[in-house]
Symmetry: C2
């Protein structure tokens, strides 16, 4: 799988550029299988070069595929070294994925004045957005581990337990089943905290009638998953039940819409109109979802202003929510695989409000 | 504590600039206590403004201190909104902490041509480098949790256990004692993996005679810690014992050197020369250490080319290592508080090679 990626990248940019600088470490991981390089260069013609400082040089030599690994010495700068290489190759038109302004300035100064340098993240994203079989295998495993963590959360959530104690149990369970770590900081946001989409996880003890938003993800061999459930401590009030059902219905409506060829703004619109009709439109304060893969937030974006078109092989979240300060919050989220026909939930089950 | 930070920042930049744009989310957290804003503006005179999208607006209104929180609507862009504000204020000279090149370009285009915009991360770093009492309280707690995790690692490390199972026990222990999460991906790198400084943590089972590098950190209320120990499964060989002792001696020598007023390159040089004298100089492939705080890698930097001067209130790591591919690796690391006199180890103990 890995072996095709650099070829596909070249096929993307080669008509427009002489070479592609990869400065984002996750993009380097995607192309070479190695995390920890300083910068990578993919020329239109010839061998790709991965520049690595001493600390990770031996690791790169062992793990990095489809490129030559070049050591950057302690007193050298990787971008300066790359600029020299580009000058030696007499290349004229370059693009790069992403770079801080400060690094851009240094790099630009080190290049010949006649070399053009353009920010173009779309070549790499057009690849990363479509998961191949090996990636999907890892993402299915990450999703399975995440669901195991959520099951544990449902088992331990009870009156008096602290948010961080619930997180401890979730993460331990995911680890025991083989998780390589968390995909992002675990959220267990209870009571007033649940009213904020990123409600955190701290030492608050769960109280009777609390809504608890549990948003978790496991990582498996660099791939991530993302899943949210909302539960109530004890019996749900009529209003809690009503809003939960609206959010659940919105999540399902969006799920039914998600498939190859659909505008990414459409499932958001479907979920949003259901929530609006129920009178909670002002409280759905974020987009429906985002891509997931090597990173927990990546392309495509599923919100009202998205220009993306969903494609088979995208993995995205479907996560409508309603957040009312002073009352509490609700979110239901699955990680979903886009296909030609109906989408597939990678995370699923446990749609239970009362515990 | 928080209340002084914006004032101190202004005192830093006000002679040179009309205002400071803060685009780094951790810097915004440092200044306001809130994580999740899009961008912040600190004008030389008048109120600071925190721009926040709807998803985090209510959270910011509740938590962000010492600034006005302004909502960025779904169809607005935060940097565009900020540019309009700056134009309305007729400001001419701005600096910013850090920004991607793509964001810089958009922001620069949205500003009047006559407005100058300069990258200057030093104002904020001159503050963040010196930890105040509240920060130190949190870092001491993070270090204590980390040491508890390391104790657990020493208790469970044994023949046949998987690296990720050791990680599960470490992280669960840290969580149980009150950790808010991991400061970075837990490293349990055994046998051949130990020869790479970032040796990861996967499904390998520990074997007899393995070196195991355990590099872990807990987080407490946004502050981090960082600690490494190296153990051997079973009885250490003479060579293992010898190299361990050299690394331990180097770590102690650097620790004795670390204090207010010392060049940050000095403790690195002290550790390095001991390791070189023992014949392992080529295998100490990274710098001695780095600052720790809200991030696990921050300023100051302790390596051969560092221009930094250590100051009382810096919190840094002291972590020499020797990595021999085909033999194994060693690293001993503590998080250390720089003081006027002798430094203070925030992590400590468990300097035991054999388990």
């Amino acid at each position: 799988m890995l072996i095709d990626r650099i070829g596909k990248l070249k096929a993307g940019f080669a008509e427009e550029f002489d070479g592609h600088v990869i400065a984002n470490e996750i993009n380097m991981l995607y192309l070479t299988g190695f995390l920890g390089a300083a910068v990578m260069f993919v020329p239109n013609e010839g061998e790709s070069i991965l520049y690595v400082y001493g600390v990770n040089y031996e690791g790169a030599r062992t793990k990095a595929k489809n490129c030559r690994v070049e050591r950057v010495k302690r007193d050298e700068e990787a971008f300066k070294k790359l600029a020299d290489q580009i000058k030696a190759m007499k290349l004229k038109t370059l693009c790069f994925d992403s770079m801080s302004f400060q690094v851009y300035q240094k790099f630009k100064n080190a290049l010949e004045r006649s070399v053009s340098l353009e920010g173009k993240s779309e070549y790499i994203w057009s690849l990363r957005r479509i998961k191949d079989d090996e990636e999907l295998k890892r993402m299915r495993k990450a999703a399975e581990l995440t669901a195991a963590g959520m099951q544990r959360a449902c088992d331990v959530v009870k009156l008096g337990i602290k948010e961080i104690e619930v997180a401890a149990e979730i993460e331990y369970e995911m680890r025991k089943y083989g998780s390589y770590g968390v995909a992002f900081d675990t959220i267990v946001a209870s009571g007033p905290h649940s009213a904020y989409p990123h409600g955190g996880c701290c030492e608050r003890r769960l109280a009777k009638g609390d809504l608890v938003v549990i948003d978790i993800g496991a990582t498996y061999m660099n791939y991530r998953s993302d899943m949210t459930r909302t539960v109530v401590i004890g019996k749900a009030s009529r209003k809690q039940k009503k809003i939960y059902d609206v959010v659940k219905e919105a999540q399902e409506a969006a799920f039914q819409r998600i498939r190859d060829g659909v505008k990414a703004a459409r499932p958001d619109a479907d979920a949003r109109s259901l929530i609006e009709e129920a009178g909670y439109g002002d409280y759905f304060v974020h987009g429906l979802g985002h891509g997931v893969g090597l990173e927990v937030h990546e392309q495509p974006v599923l919100n009202t202003s998205s220009k993306d078109i969903l494609k088979s092989g995208n993995v995205v979240t479907d996560e409508p929510g309603v957040y009312i300060v002073g009352f509490g919050g609700f979110r239901i989220e699955d990680t979903v695989l886009v296909r030609k026909g109906k989408a597939e939930r990678l995370t699923k089950g446990l749609y239970v409000l009362e515990t």
